[in-house]
């Protein structure tokens, strides 16, 4: 069924349909979120709209959570995932990743008045993660901490604010933005585990869209699109400690 699914989302089919279906986050400022007027915004969204424009089609969004990104592709709910999708060896087996457009690593936040600054402090503590994220995978493999797992960002951030755990682990790129808005917390551990990349993902075997996306990312990188994107969407949300080169690839 790969071939039929793949053909549905081929570049030709998308152009014919006139719609690029993109899976994005909806509650994750500043990457993928919805503002108070109901408009979808963020770093990923700007990329999605640009890709649609370059394809000559409209973008249509499906809001996902971290743990159903793969299923969304596999069941043809979207042509492409632009939801801060970290490339990992396991994921490469179930989806095809295009050229990355962002750097990332897992970080850990904790309250400023009880900061956690290195991994040993986490031993036997409760840590909040989002289901289906690299942060969850990291701690599940490593063991030694008690994980509290949530479906969505809204839920996990509310939980940390309600002091349901000692710390919360997620991509450091969001955490920087989040602590800026919630100054009583700090990104005590900035990097844990490997440095990784975030890339667009398409259904396994959808070569046509994969190839097109690779070219597109290359083109956009060369045009400096991601720097612009960074400045427009991310910069206002970050503190001084973050530089464009921490996020954007070149």
């Amino acid at each position: 069924n790969d071939s039929t699914g793949g053909s549905d989302s081929s570049v030709v089919a998308i152009k014919k349909r006139g719609v690029l279906r993109v899976a994005v986050f909806g509650d994750l400022p500043p990457y993928g979120w919805v503002d108070e007027h109901g408009n979808r915004r963020g770093y990923d969204l700007r990329l999605a709209r640009r890709m649609a424009k370059d394809l000559g089609v409209k973008a249509k969004f499906t809001q996902v959570n971290a743990n159903n990104r793969v299923d969304t592709l596999n069941s043809d709910k979207a042509d492409i995932v632009l939801a801060n999708f970290t490339v990992t060896p396991e994921r490469k087996q179930v989806a095809d990743f295009a050229r990355p457009y962002m750097k990332v690593s897992v970080g850990v936040i904790s309250p400023k008045n009880a900061p956690i600054t290195n991994e040993h402090q986490l031993k036997n503590k409760t840590v909040i993660v989002n289901k289906g994220t690299t942060a969850e995978n990291y701690f599940t493999e490593k063991g030694g901490v008690h994980l509290l797992k949530f479906d969505s960002k809204t839920q996990q951030f509310n939980a940390i604010k309600n002091k349901r755990a000692a710390a919360l682990a997620d991509d450091n790129s969001y955490l920087y933005a989040w602590v800026k808005r919630n100054p009583s917390y700090t990104v005590g551990i900035k990097n844990i585990g490997p440095n990784q990349y975030i890339a667009p993902a398409v259904k396994k075997g959808n070569k046509s869209l994969l190839d097109w996306t690779n070219q597109e990312i290359t083109k956009l990188t060369n045009q400096g699109f991601f720097v612009t994107d960074y400045n427009k969407e991310l910069k206002p949300y970050f503190g001084k400690e973050v530089k464009p080169s921490d996020i954007v690839l070149n």
């Binding site: 743990n67 289906g132 839920q155 309600n162």
Partner: protein, 219 residues
């Protein structure tokens, strides 16, 4: 379907299975107590309390458990009331289940013939004796089918606990899917797990219901 994936996941599911059973058990027990109490209070029209319980039943029955749990778990701490996920889950389930059980009991109690109550009165019983010897035993038998349906309903409702990070069956399955992308396998195990819990209960309750219907309850 990859059987190896399934067999690897079984220990994790076993854990979740136990938790689901435990939460259901506590929730159902609590619901029965709250339901019986609230229904008797309504039946005998105890002033003030009965209005209070009527309001509770309507509120609980006409709102989704999901939002009840969101409220307990995410919103209550904002006004300074913080409870663990398990506590929230159980309170939520009993809040909802108590109302459903109350309706079930009320249906049964109101099915007790007025003539039965007249007879009890004519024998000189007071309200408490009427409740204890006439209304409750007969009404309970009559409410069995409704209570049985509620038991099944409440067990299934524990699946919603996944939204407050309680690692019961559904949460576990969705989590494993998020980590290892084996949706077919994990959903299969999940459905089988619910079947293992529910089929015996459905069979048992069918049996009970038949006994009630043919009036052999109490033998």
């Amino acid at each position: 379907m990859n059987w190896q994936v399934i067999s690897h996941s079984l220990p994790i599911f076993a854990q979740a299975f136990k938790l689901t059973l435990w939460l259901s058990f506590v929730g159902i027990l609590g619901s029965l107590i709250v339901g019986a109490l609230s229904s008797l209070i309504q039946y005998f029209k105890v002033p003030i309390l009965s209005q209070l319980f009527t309001a509770y039943v309507e509120l609980a029955r006409n709102t989704p458990l999901l939002i009840q749990l969101f409220f307990l778990y995410y919103a209550f701490p904002v006004i300074g009331l913080k409870m663990s996920a398990t506590t929230c889950g159980i309170i939520g389930l009993i809040f909802l289940g108590g109302a459903y059980m109350a309706e079930g009991f009320t249906g049964g109690f109101s099915g007790v013939n007025q003539t039965q109550i007249d007879n009890g009165k004519a024998l000189g019983m007071n309200n408490l004796q009427l409740a204890r010897y006439v209304v409750f035993p007969q009404g309970f038998a009559l409410s069995m089918p409704a209570l049985a349906a509620n038991v099944i309903f409440l067990i299934k409702e524990t699946s919603i606990f996944s939204v407050i990070a309680i690692p019961e069956l559904t949460n576990t399955a969705l989590d494993l899917i998020g980590m290892y992308y084996r949706s077919n396998e994990y959903l299969f195990v999940l459905v089988v797990a619910y079947a293992i819990i529910l089929i015996p209960i459905i069979l048992l309750l069918n049996l009970l219901e038949r006994r009630v219907r043919y009036g052999t309850f109490g033998d």
